[in-house]
Amino acid sequence: MADYSVKELMACWLSRDLVDKESSAVGANFPIPRAAVLLAHFIHGPNMKITMGSFSVNLEGVNQVMTSKYFTDFRPVRWAESAANFSFDLFTFHKLDVFFISGIQIDAYGNTNLIGIPGNGKKFKFRGPGSIGTTTLAALARRYYIVTEHHTPRLFVEKCDYISALGFGDGAPDLRQRLCLPGKGPKYCVTPLCIFDFSPKTHRMRICSLHPGITLDQVMENTAFEPEIPDTIPETSPPKKMELDILRQRVDPEGLLR
């Protein structure tokens, strides 16, 4: 029996891929990436440019961070060094290193859909919440991660019905260059079952590691497309005690990820 939750695993794994001095933004109500960024900041990223809602903060010396249920929570102002200037900063995301995206559909080439599902001759059989900032950030941020708390065949589809955030389109090798998009696109897709990366040649999702206790069959049953499968698949490296300690004591004291 693991002494950590799968959300904690996802946050710890993600945090190791973030690098000191990078800038990152986390969308609204997205606790796993938020925890990953703060964990990286506390462990190896004292110079990371962290945003909490609309504030740029640095948490050196902060023992415990409250969680925010709402993006516009004013309380992180206590740690703020500056506040987002919406006139400038919404348009300078090509300078952002790291972003995180989810979707109501995620497809084999890392495209995501937050708009909705068509049906019965209508635009929307099911209307999604909307693109938020993902359309632009997927195009501009230097890299991004697809993160989802669910892994089902309805979510992981061969092709999104609508693309609200462009991953690698149809997998054409130079699509992003042809569109002159500065961002390199999705780097990993992190799910409760596994980590996907993207094949450098085909840009198709490829199984990168399976979470402890998860089988390849479980992933395949819950994925409606055929991901690329390497010859050997490692296990996702589980949280270290030090990571879990910091995560639970300083980043997620309320236990949202448990």
């Binding site: 109500n29 249920k69 309380r75 090509h94 929307f124 359309t135 632009t136 693309i163």
Partner: protein
């Protein structure tokens, strides 16, 4: 030495402010997600039953826009998200109206809406962006046109300007001349006000011109009309004053969800109690109650 001439005050009451709204107008609502929506004005619009409004939400608005949809005021929505995050991931009326094709959605993301506001504020026919290329947004929103730039021939998306009749914002304070300041972030309000023909701002407090002049660098814009509305963003937060009223948001969301599932009773009673019956904003606050209001303080 000269005839006594006086500067005009721009403070008016909420009824007079709402006389500027007409059916079919395009209105822009300030704030961001769950903060600083001009709810006294929005409830006033819902109560008066204006029709066929184009509503530009605060890039990502909350259930402020959903309320207007639920009350039948909206023909067209410009918003990258409609919901209240943890309190209600999606606006129920928005979702139903979209699925029944009762409203048009100007499909976009936050930055594309901000680009539209920039084009409008800057008097330009369009604003260029990169985000959206390769996505289905231009298919869903044919007003977004792909073009190639005249310098490097790079593909870009042209986001058109949109005429905006009135911007409604909610700020911390203003003086009687409309100079408006915020304790916290003003999000997209400054840009919205520069884009709109007219700005009507509700404020937590009216302060002296001297207090505004104490830090003129804090002044975000000069509103055309100021309406005093303490707790004017309730049930949303106002930086430096109060946090979200999560119980109220849950009450709204529950009522709205039963309504779209066919049971109108709790929505009708919500609407009667909070929209139709109160004669004005302060009467609405009486419905909420002092004990609740003062439980919402920050921190």
């Amino acid at each position: 030495m000269t005839a006594k001439i006086k500067r005009d005050t721009v403070i008016i009451d909420e009824n007079t402010a709402l006389e500027h709204v007409k059916d079919g107008m395009t209105i822009a609502l300030g704030g961001f997600i769950t903060t600083q929506h001009s709810m006294s004005m929005i409830r006033g619009i819902a109560k008066r039953g204006f029709k066929n409004l184009t509503v530009i939400g605060s890039l990502s608005p909350a259930l402020d826009v959903d309320l207007l949809v639920g009350c039948g005021c909206v023909r067209r929505i410009v918003a990258a998200y409609v919901g209240a995050e943890a309190a209600a991931p999606m606006g129920p009326f928005f979702k139903k109206a979209a699925e029944k094709e009762e409203i048009d959605i100007w499909e976009s993301d936050e930055i594309i809406i901000a680009a539209m506001l920039k084009a409008t504020a800057f008097g330009l026919p369009f604003f260029p962006v990169r985000g959206g290329l390769g996505t289905d947004l231009p298919k869903l929103n044919p007003e977004l046109k792909t073009f190639h730039d005249p310098i490097n021939n790079e593909p870009l998306l042209a986001v058109p300007a949109m005429h905006i009749d009135i911007a409604f914002t909610h700020a911390s304070k203003a003086d009687q001349y409309g100079n408006t300041q915020y304790v916290g972030n003003s999000f997209i309000d400054s840009l919205m006000c520069r884009a709109a023909d007219m700005t009507i701002t509700t404020v937590e407090k009216i302060v002296s011109p001297e207090e505004i002049r104490r830090d003129p660098f804090k002044t975000e814009y000069q509103a055309d009309l100021i309406v005093r509305a303490p707790f004017g963003a309730h049930p949303y937060s106002c930086h430096g004053f109060y946090m979200e009223d999560e119980e109220h948001l849950a009450e709204y969301a529950t009522a709205a969800y039963s309504s779209i599932k066919g049971d109108q009773s709790s929505w009708e009673s919500y609407r009667t109690k909070y929209i139709e019956t109160p004669s004005d904003h302060l009467d609405y606050l009486e419905q909420i109650g002092i004990r609740k209001l003062f439980s919402l303080n920050e921190f």
